[in-house]
């Protein structure tokens, strides 16, 4: 069972976002980057499949040099190979990124392709299904449980108020939801072993693509803004619970008109 896990590197979720000077990008000064949290579930699932069924887990990332750090961390957790497609992913739209990843995935043997259900950053939730389409694979999104055997995966897909159990032919694209597993931390042994693995690097041109394929302005950011500052509204003392409850009900009735 060979898997490719696509890793997105995103600002730490603790980050206070600031807008950059051009008004279209975030200010990256001082930002600590992490592996997007949902990608950790994807990686863990692929590692578990490898441990049970053998094969390789290749982690794949597209972006500037800092992406190597995310790949190195993923190797330390148990991925066996890493591929870094170097390039400025910042101005690529989701479909541009998907084209790069799809081309890179084709160079690696695989039965399953994993993503997190969304990158905790631009929050598009687009790239996984786009890669599935570009490769002609089936997709199962927002997966909380997975079994893979005999050329077929059975995946539990979370939908509103229910769960679908879906059979898909392999190769397939799976996007991971929280709850799929409990991701492990890197062990010291894993960290040492990861240092010996060479991260393969490719350029966009190596994959037969040009910048114009990626940055072709299907979706362009016109402006980026912070939400309006809220100053906080009325605050009352709740020492008398019933009186406080009556005040809340009055607010809900008069302002929210929800009663």
């Amino acid at each position: 069972m060979n898997s490719v896990v696509c890793i997105a590197q995103v600002p730490d979720t603790e980050t206070r976002i600031k807008i950059g000077g051009d008004g279209r990008h975030i200010d990256e000064t001082g930002i600590k980057y992490i592996v997007s949290p949902y990608d950790e579930y994807a990686l863990e699932e692929a590692i578990r499949l490898k441990e049970k069924q053998g094969g390789d887990v290749t982690v794949l990332g597209f972006g500037p040099d800092r992406v190597q750090q995310a790949l190195r961390e993923s190797l330390a957790r148990g991925a066996t190979k890493a591929l870094h497609v170097k390039g400025e992913s910042g101005d690529a739209d989701s479909l541009g990124i998907a084209k790069v990843l799809a081309a890179a995935i084709k160079t690696v043997p695989h039965d399953l392709v994993f993503f997190g259900k969304q990158g905790v950053g631009t929050d598009n939730s687009l790239v996984g299904p786009m890669v599935a389409e570009l490769l002609g694979y089936p997709q199962v999104n927002v997966v909380t449980h997975l079994e893979a055997a005999d050329g077929k995966v059975t995946a539990h897909r979370e939908i509103e108020g229910a769960e679908e159990i879906i059979d898909a032919q392999m190769p397939a694209v799976i996007t991971a939801q929280k709850g799929m597993n409990e991701p492990r931390y890197a062990s010291l042994k894993g960290i040492m072993a990861a240092k010996k693995i060479t991260i393969e690097t490719k350029s966009i041109a190596d994959l037969g693509l040009a910048d114009s394929d990626i940055i072709n302005q299907r979706v362009t950011v016109v402006s980026l803004e912070l939400p309006p500052e809220k100053s906080g509204g009325k605050k009352i003392d709740g020492a008398d619970p019933v009186a406080a409850a009556k005040e809340i009900v009055r607010y809900i009735k008069e302002e929210a008109k929800a009663l």
Binding site: E14, T15, N141, G161
Partner: protein
């Protein structure tokens, strides 16, 4: 200029997300001097879609939701309607389908948008990024330009139109996936994704069993049960309830936070709620900075009292 809206049905009615998408779709069509049309896999949608302004309903006999068959059917409908804009409500299925469709058609798509405008012959959309810590306005190019609409961001408004004219769509409906079972979980609970009211509990509940206080209030007021990340990680409640950066970003009309101090990741996920009530014993809790109505006090006495007052108000 034609706007096509992907419609989903639940309990023989148009889903709220679809009604909202039709409503903003109708406005875009009017602004651009075009028509609103709809797509569904159920002919019975014709009346409802018409009531929200759709002139035509493109129908494919595709059965229940399947990514690949629905992509093929939508592709055919988009071609037949010559649609310039395609909107999908931001449901699980809408979010599953939109990127697949955009990749097939090599066009732009924006997800989870909360504003849409047709300006200078282009579709502009605003969407939250970094879970609502910032908002990006994007221009979506290509024919069609595709967007998924954020639930609760666009009011659903009927136009009073008659039934939409049915147009059959034919497409090759092949798929490499099959839904073998659908398990309805916690059948009587509303999903936070679609709720108008959310009552959320945090670490202040002290233990999982105390979520019953939150459930009682949610039940009394007719809302969904939300939760902070800490409570989900502690195993007190299922992840489907988690609001925030690694859960759901929500914008209900009313959000009641009890025992939630307001970590930046949680605030990002709910600060666009229209009315926020916070109950917390710590007067310095960050949640009070964004709450419209804050109560400093003990949730263990205030929440049950509130449940009783809500019941009284409802009885009147």
């Amino acid at each position: 200029m034609t706007v096509l809206v992907f419609c989903e049905v639940q309990d023989n009615k148009l889903k709220k997300a679809s009604r909202e998408a039709l409503s903003i779709g109708r406005k875009l069509a009017a602004d651009a001097g075009g028509d609103l049309v709809a797509f569904a896999t159920d002919r019975a949608v014709a009346d409802d879609a018409g009531r929200y302004g759709a002139k035509k309903l493109y129908v494919a006999n595709a059965g229940g939701y399947n990514t690949e068959t629905y992509t093929a059917a939508m592709q055919a409908a988009i071609g037949q309607a010559s649609a310039s804009i395609v909107l999908l409500g931001g449901t699980s299925n809408g979010r599953d389908l939109a990127p697949r469709l955009a990749a097939r058609l090599n066009v732009g798509v924006a997800s989870d948008v909360d504003r849409l405008e047709w300006t200078g012959g282009k579709l502009h959309a605003r969407r939250p990024v970094y879970s609502g810590k910032a908002f990006a306005t994007v221009e979506i190019s290509g024919k069609p330009a595709i967007a998924t609409t954020r639930i609760n961001a666009f009011p659903a408004e009927e136009s009073g139109g008659g039934a939409a004219e049915i147009v059959e769509v034919s497409a090759l409906l092949d798929s490499k996936t099959k839904v073998v079972e659908t398990k309805v979980s916690e059948a009587d609970e509303l999903s936070i994704a679609e709720a108008d009211i959310i009552v959320s509990g945090g670490r202040g509940l002290k233990e999982g069993a105390n979520f019953s206080l939150i459930r009682d209030l949610a039940h009394a007021i007719g809302g969904a049960v939300g939760a902070s990340r800490a409570t989900v990680d502690a195993g007190w409640i299922d992840h489907q309830h988690q609001v925030g950066q690694t859960g759901r970003v929500v914008s209900p009309n009313l959000y009641i936070a009890a025992g939630i101090s307001g970590a930046i990741q949680h605030l990002a996920g709910m600060s666009s709620s229209k009315h926020i009530v916070a109950i917390n014993k710590d007067p310095e809790a960050p949640i009070f900075r964004i709450a419209d109505f804050g109560v400093v006090g003990d949730l263990f006495t205030i929440v049950p009292a509130l449940t009783e007052e809500v019941k009284k108000a409802k009885a009147h």
